[in-house]
Amino acid sequence: MLEVRKLKKIFAKKSFNEKIALANIDLHLGSGEFVTVVGGNGSGKSTLFNCIAGVETPDEGRIVLDGRDITYLAEHQRAVYIGRVFQDPLKGTAYDMTIEENLSLAYSKGGRRGLSRAITKADIRKFQERLSTLNLDLEKRLKQKVGLLSGGQRQALTLLMATLVKPKLLLLDEHTAALDPSTAKLVMSLTAKVVNEENISTIMITHNLRDALEFGSRTVMLSSGRITMDIHERERQLVTTDKLFEQLEQ
């Protein structure tokens, strides 16, 4: 599904401050696979995400998504295939637009953004149906501005928007890190639900080691721009959070 081949990214190249963010990353993701990524600050997790999403252009290597080379495709063009949820709940939604307008923007993904009406009656029914799966009563608040929602509600909405048109790949960048524990738990369970139901290939960055081992079927550890650990199903079941923490410390 996703193939990252020999990816290299160097910041401030050939200067005193040169920093190798990604040394040589090879990562293959199967269809419907849910991978969690752990690693300390500066290990290259976010750079990897930014390269896959098109925010950064890698210096070397290839990124192939579902058979298509997207290494140099513009961010907004590849966004059609990639759903993203950010750490900051404010980043994933437009605060001064209503819930239905936000959903309409997400719903137009891949389609033409022309001069047709943004929100039709059929759209509203679809939005209500999908919102009701969140169990946050947002389906009754379609005409309210997103700025009025709490961080957890906004993050749940962002998750819904990222998967409203089924993406080929879902990128979750510490998307529960800014939420309180109970809200984080709720958003995490919503994540697992949508990913499993829709069978979406997913990569999730997290600092929560328990989440890293609990969700998905595979855990990858990054350190200094390299993959230092890559454990799958059975192997992963034997690893405890303590062991993972020790590994991270090294």
């Binding site: 907004h76 994933g92 637009m97 943004a118 929100i119």
Partner: protein
């Protein structure tokens, strides 16, 4: 106030209402201050004067609008393709437009259009001149208002608003934010140029310096409008801008009536905008709060708090 003054202020309010809608697009919807408008306003005016003098009156509105779109597109090009800061891009275009506008006006700094029929004289008799003008202006503003309101509720319009609201999110959802910014700046300046063109028809002359400070006029109208009518929908937001523009003209007419010299207008406009923009800061105690956060203030050495 005489009825002449009252109707005159209303007419100007409607004309500058189109300008304010344009400024609302860049300032509020795209969330970027666009300096181009001071130049594109005159571009519209110049096109209006020349087209009225030499060509057909029917072409005034479309050509002026297109001229404005072109001016906005140049600013967008400088900003998006050449990566020049937006504020500077606007200033560069504005400065260049001075020469371009003079060229459009055939080298003359002003053109009177007294001999020719204007769009306001196509209908009605000489006695009913002012009320006819207001009717024509009202229809024109209503048409532009409806077109803009419709546009901002289409899928494309929504992409434009999302770009101003949260650019990162817009891109993550597949919106080509460079395209939407360009489109927004073009349409915004199209409205501004149209406003300038209509003003020339109304006052029967075009002047190279008539654009100076229109950005402040537009901003003042937008801000006054937001005080009059708080808008949760696009329709209310746009209506507020138009009401703000008319209210602004009455404030000015009132000030002139009580003896303020017209040359002080720009000073007053700037003050209105400064006061309105600083209101939110004053409400949150922001001026003092910010000093403390920056490490100055009570315990600092370089700032002594007022007693």
């Amino acid at each position: 106030m005489s009825s002449y003054v009252i109707l005159g202020a209303l007419a100007l309010g409607l004309i500058y209402g189109i300008l304010s809608l344009g400024i609302y697009i860049s300032f509020r919807i795209l969330n970027i201050p666009d300096m181009t408008v001071d130049g594109s306003f005159v571009t519209g005016a110049a096109i209006s004067a020349v087209v009225t003098t030499h060509y057909s009156l029917i072409l005034v509105i479309p050509l002026a609008f297109l001229g404005g779109c072109l001016a906005g597109s140049i600013t967008a090009f400088l900003h998006i393709k050449l990566k020049i800061q937006l504020l500077l891009s606007g200033i560069l275009t504005l400065s260049a437009l001075y020469s371009v506008n003079i060229r459009i006006m055939e080298g003359k700094p002003n053109i009177p259009v007294l001999q020719q029929t204007t769009i306001f004289e196509l209908w009605g008799s000489a006695e009913s001149q002012q009320s006819t003008s207001i009717a024509v202006l009202g229809v024109l503003l209503a048409v532009m208002f409806c077109l803009l309101c419709f546009f901002l509720n289409t899928k494309l319009g929504l992409s434009l608003r999302a770009t101003g609201n949260n650019e990162q999110m817009a891109r993550a959802l597949g919106v080509d934010t460079n395209m939407t910014k360009w489109l927004g700046l073009a349409i915004s300046n199209g409205f501004v140029a149209l406003s300038g063109a209509v003003l020339v028809q109304y006052q029967s002359f075009a002047d190279i310096s008539m654009g100076t400070g229109v950005i402040v006029t537009g901003l003042a109208s937008v801000i006054i409008g937001e005080v009059i009518l708080s808008g949760s929908t696009i329709f209310r937001g746009l209506l507020a801008v138009v009401l703000g523009s008319v209210a602004y003209r009455y404030i000015i007419a009132g000030a002139i009536q009580i003896g303020m010299p017209p040359t002080d207008l720009k000073l007053m406009s700037s003050l209105i905008v400064i006061i309105a923009l600083s209101m939110s800061l004053l409400h949150s105690g922001g001026i003092r709060g910010r000093r403390r956060r920056s490490g100055l203030g009570r315990n600092g050495t370089d700032f002594t708090p007022p007693q």
